[in-house]
Amino acid sequence: MSFTVKLRFEKRWQHVYCYLRLIFKFSNFQIATFLICFLLIPFTSGAQTATASTKEKEYQIGDWIPVDLFVSAASNNQVAFPNLKDSISPIIEVANYNPVDTVKKGGQNEYHQLVNLIVFDTGQIMLPRFQFLVNSNGKLDTIVSESILVHVAGVKIDTTKDIKPIKEPLKIPLTFKEILPFLIGTIILALIAALIAWYIIERKRKNQPVDEKYLLPPHVWALKELDKLQRDKLWQTGAVKNYYSRLTDIARTYIELRYHISAMERTTDELMSAMHKGMMKQSLKKDLNEVLVMSDFVKFAKAQPDFIENENSMRIIKEFIDKTKQLEEEKKPLTQKD
């Protein structure tokens, strides 16, 4: 349905045909010439028309009202469509609009734009006229569409039914496009945090001195420590308890590094049970047990072994290490974690 002063070309050709018949009926050349010139004016001067139309006449409050803005102008003319804002009037809002679509037809250009309006009032509502600017070879011209009358109905209330609760606002699903900036931001932040954490850990690790026992082979480290213990001459100066404490600590740490048994957290009996048959010769295990038991006496029962025992204990531990050391071909890289 159209509410316009639109000049339709089909109708126009009908008019032309009628005019021509009239002219030739009168066969007055002067009049005919005048009428032909009058008829041709719109074609020669480039006709411009603007319409605004809706598909229907009845709408409900809050509905989108699609308004088709149409302009026809000569192809060498420039047409500017109205700059639509959020609302047209206090009761009419612009929901959205499409870009202008151009179709060439002969020497004319037809421009279409679909504008969705929302009316927040009821009754007979007059949609306003739309203004278009046409630049015809530097000459600005304004064309306007006709206003449109629509009927906006309110929500029908059925009073016979119960009052229903207010409807929740519609939930608009989030689009990936909306999430994308946050997603990128989060990833960037996480990367920065990871980078900082990595930098701090690396710096801490570099600054932390690595214990020599993790760098050297267990037997090398243990023998080095035993030599140091011997040089300290502890039992010779009466520090027997300290001597046995260090001796057993070295032996236990060696077992821990060599056999991966948590020897420092085990008692002598538990350690002996953990060292199963396949690990070493039973004679070596027996000798080690005797040193550890002796150390327990010294450490916990104030026993004072004589110098032969002290020397013997050192010799046994050295022998144990020497006979149980890891051969080159058995070696596997050790880490601090191990």
Binding site: M264, T267, F300, A301, K302, Q304, D306, I308
Partner: protein, 342 residues
């Protein structure tokens, strides 16, 4: 060749004569064998429970037993009492029990016209508080106060409880409905919490035969209360090196601050750790254990042997631990495996 001296031939330092102490302990602990033989007449198996009972008795502690019914809990303490020639009382805790039912009360004597003291069952040497969690808090509190202070006040007079005084309380882990759980502060007063389980197959066969035959246990008093009191003094003399003291404290502190001991995974599982009473109990129990093993000094094995019984009721676990099905046993096990042995 290894030419080691035997431990008894080792020279010991003069300040604390461990050799002499060892000899003294050998003498003073000789009664343990006789006692075990006598109790063995009526009790088959349950060696762990009897050993713990002896630890608590020798270190002036009390014991909380947890186990299903029918595991000879009553028989064990009754037999111990009979073998030591001491008085035994059994108090069955019920919801309607009153503090006076345990402690005693003042009764009016009409003929004499005055109030007389009627002592309760607590005035015994060995008390079995059966199903302690069935009585309300005020009754539990009265018993625990007497256990701690070792005396009872009736009227204006305070009566000292006769030594040896040992309370063995039992809890049934199955039926929890209608029970009053002991608060942490009160449970802490028990030196040990021992969990007992069913006997072995062969042990149960023997128990069955013994009961079917209906032979009387015939437990006779083999030692006196004085022997126990003397042994208690000897237990206190058992030598504990400062390295062992540090080891005990390390274990207790690891229950409070696991992160400090690099046991980070326990941080969210422990709500509270062992109290100073735990340190005292662990030291005393370790000494008693060393005494039972006929040694005059404590070694790390002694500490580890009693650690579970000393700590299991003194460590609070979080909801996270409960959700992950982690109990006190696992926490103690982890701590013992992570704290360095001296």
């Amino acid at each position: 060749m290894v030419l080691f001296l035997q431990p008894n031939k080792l020279n010991f330092m003069e300040s604390i004569d461990i050799k002499a102490l060892n000899e003294k302990i050998q003498q003073d602990s000789a009664f343990l064998e006789i006692l075990n033989l006598e109790i063995g007449k009526s009790i088959v198996g349950q060696k762990y429970m009897l050993e713990r009972l002896m630890i608590a008795l020798l270190s002036q502690g009390h014991i909380l037993l947890e186990g299903v019914p029918g595991l000879a809990k009553t028989l064990a303490i009754k037999s111990l009492s009979e073998a030591i020639d001491t008085k035994f009382s059994r108090i069955q805790f019920t919801p309607d029990l009153l503090p006076a039912d345990i402690l005693g009360t003042m009764v009016y004597n009409q003929s004499k016209g005055n109030f007389e003291v009627k002592k309760g069952p607590i005035f015994s040497n060995f008390i079995l508080s059966d199903e302690i969690n069935r009585a309300p808090a005020k009754v539990q509190s009265a018993l625990l106060q007497a256990m701690q202070e070792r005396n009872v006040t009736l009227g204006d007079t305070t009566y000292k409880l006769e030594e040896p005084f040992l309370v063995m309380a039992t809890q049934n882990p199955i039926e929890q409905e209608g029970t009053y759980n002991l608060p942490e502060a009160q449970v802490d007063r028990f030196m040990l919490k021992v969990k007992i389980s069913y006997p072995e197959f062969e042990e149960e066969r023997q128990i069955m035969r013994q009961n079917v035959a209906g032979a009387p246990s015939g437990i006779k008093p083999v030692i006196s209360a004085a022997t126990i009191l003397k042994a208690r003094d000897t237990v206190r003399e058992v030598y504990m090196d400062e390295k062992i003291e540090k080891y005990i404290l390390d274990i207790i502190f690891a229950t409070r601050e696991p992160v400090k001991y690099k046991i980070d995974n326990l941080k969210h599982l422990i709500s509270y750790g062992g109290s100073p009473r735990a340190s005292i109990s662990m030291a005393m129990a370790s000494k008693a254990y060393a005494f039972i093993k006929r040694r005059g000094y404590v070694i790390p094995e002694d500490v580890r042997a009693v650690a579970h019984d000393v700590l299991r009721h003194r460590i609070g676990i979080t909801y996270e631990a409960e959700a992950e099905n982690i109990n006190q046993e696992e926490i103690i096990h982890t701590i013992l495996n992570r704290v360095e042995v001296p």
